[in-house]
């Protein structure tokens, strides 16, 4: 129970930080924000790696493999495409 309360505390604090930062992002960067934050949500790759590599249950491992593939596409593709977009944003001159 204590662990759960700690987790919930962290969750709420992160949401607050998220709101504080995201509201300051200008509309011009909203597309890179979506693709970049999307790449961050690929953090579930961390869980996917454990599922694919734990070697306890075969079905779980293959489900984990699927998760690793999807999450890696998300992470690699997401950060890369965001980089590609952001490198095009230039000031005058």
């Amino acid at each position: 129970m204590e662990a759960l309360i700690l987790s919930v505390t962290i969750f709420v604090l992160a949401v607050v930080i998220g709101f504080e930062i995201i509201t300051k992002i200008p509309p011009t960067l909203h597309t890179p924000l979506m693709s970049g934050s999307n790449a961050i949500s690929g953090i579930s790759v961390v869980g996917a790696l454990v599922a694919a590599g734990a070697g306890k249950d075969e079905l779980a491992a293959y489900i984990g493999l699927g998760a690793v593939i999807l999450a890696t596409i998300n992470v690699v593709g997401g950060f890369l495409v965001t980089h590609r977009m952001l490198s095009m944003f230039k000031r005058k001159n």
């Binding site: 961050i40 949500s41 579930s44 790696l49 454990v50 890696t72 593709g77």
Partner: protein, 459 residues
């Protein structure tokens, strides 16, 4: 000891994600911000490979190899005009991955450490529901953006089915959390949630897509956060809630910019078109102009504002638009771009297209910045935008789009509207702007009209 090291790495990763998002608050620091985020991810992944539960690496290597190849190919090959499609798909993959991790965890609880069982199974059900709905919803959104799916069913029956799906998924989730042995309940709730993902995206129309993509973005974050509760893993909880908050704020901004509630968007509800018909508005009042006539007006203009919409993306006119604005700048005119929050198919869509065409971002202005300038602007060129410049939203309380914030282009001295025909926009209503005294219609394909203007200016 080893676990402490991993946790310390997760903390570093979380901080880097936060700093990375903070970098996005300005175009000058954005690139560095994205690199910080990517570094955080690398640290988190590397640390995870040290976790003692991981004993075999074959599947991991296979998965990372496949995922990296597909991810790199998608990110580098996809044309920037199809960015909304790509982001929609990525959202879905994120949600799908989270749901799969939750599924693996509840199938094989031994793989995770010390987590209270009730927390694990409740969060597992939540993650499966949100993740599965995000995956199928995103695929439908992608298909709609690709133009592969155009049906838009609406109405009471669909609402009832949606309600049954949500209630069913929640009910199954609670049942499963209380009786984790009932794996059938888990698989059924995933299927029901997947069905719901399809049903809630299918009624959404094209111009409402920015809302849905932002919402799915938020959901992919929430799915990751729920998975964090399954594994009792703080870096997942933190990153997931950051993304959840981000997508939620974007959803809010998009809804406000259309003056529609999230509920109206999701049920495909549009106000009923009452009031004037096309004929009443347009009859004998629409003035069309040739490129030469328009060029004469532009030649004399000291200030020109360009208002792009989805039509610019469809016509691929952004490069021609850049050439036109450079030509006018050489002529001494001040160029601004006025961008409505929901122009295009995703938040910030127009900005990315113009950035691709080398338009500097300090020439782009959002709605609140640009609206006060229209009264002092010589010429506004509206390119492929319709409802977001319809004065009826401001002046006609009976209009279906009444109250929607618009760009007040009609206040400029001259308005040029580049459009194929007088066909209505998404809201399906006539646009008084097209018949206004100070409006010139330039009929034709956006790219071609702009090129013709350029040619006429050079003569």
């Amino acid at each position: 000891m080893q676990q402490n090291l991993v946790n310390a790495a997760y903390l570093v990763a979380s901080v880097l994600f936060i700093l990375g998002l903070k970098g996005l608050t300005s175009p000058r620091t954005a690139l560095r911000g994205n690199l910080l985020g990517a570094t955080g991810m690398l640290i988190a992944v590397t640390a995870t490979l040290l976790v003692r539960q991981i004993v075999s690496f074959e599947l991991i290597l296979v998965g990372i190899a496949i995922g990296s190849v597909v991810g790199v190919a998608a990110a580098l090959k996809v044309p920037l005009t199809t960015m909304p499609e790509l982001v929609a798909l990525f959202n879905g993959f994120g949600g799908g991955a989270s749901a799969l991790v939750a599924a693996a965890a509840v199938l094989s609880p031994a793989m995770i450490g010390d987590v209270a069982r009730i927390q694990m199974y409740t969060a597992g059900a939540a993650s499966a529901i949100i993740g599965a709905a995000t995956l199928t919803g995103s695929v439908i959104a992608w298909a709609k953006l690709q133009g592969m799916l155009s049906m838009q069913p609406r109405g009471g029956v669909l609402h009832t089915i949606n309600f049954v799906c949500i209630a069913g998924a929640l009910g199954l989730g609670i049942y499963y959390a209380l009786d984790p042995g009932a794996l059938w309940a888990f698989w059924t709730l995933i299927s029901v949630a997947a069905l719901y993902g399809v049903l809630f995206t299918v009624p959404v129309g094209g111009a409402d897509m920015p809302v849905v993509i932002a919402l799915l973005n938020s959901a992919s974050g929430l799915a990751a956060a729920s998975t964090g509760f399954v594994l009792s893993n703080n870096v997942l909880i933190i990153s997931g809630s950051l993304v959840g908050a981000s997508g939620f704020i974007l959803t809010e901004i998009m809804c406000r910019a259309m003056n529609r509630s999230l509920w109206d968007v999701l049920s495909g509800n549009l106000g009923d078109a009452i009031g004037s018909s096309d004929d009443d508005v347009y009859q004998g009042r629409v003035k069309s102009a040739s490129a030469d006539e328009a060029a004469l007006v532009l030649e004399a203009a000291r200030s020109v504002t360009i208002v792009p919409g989805y039509g610019m993306a469809v016509a691929q006119a952004q490069h021609a638009v850049r050439d036109l604005s450079r030509r006018l700048q050489k002529n001494g005119a001040r160029i601004r771009y006025g961008i409505h929050p929901v122009a295009g198919r995703m938040p910030g869509h127009m900005n990315v297209l113009l950035a691709e065409a080398d338009v500097p971002y300090d020439e782009l202005f959002d709605m609140d910045q640009i609206n006060p300038t229209f009264a002092q602007t010589d010429v506004v060129i509206v390119l492929g935008a319709n409802d977001v410049v319809n004065p009826a939203a401001r002046d006609d309380a009976n209009s279906p789009i009444a109250g929607m914030p618009i760009l007040d282009v009609d206040k400029a001295r001259t308005v040029m509207v580049v459009k194929r025909s007088l066909s209505p926009g998404f809201a399906g209503i006539p646009n008084r702007l097209f018949a206004a005294d100070n409006t010139l219609m330039l009929f034709g394909d956006g790219e071609k009209v702009v090129r013709d203007l350029l040619a006429a200016l050079d003569e």
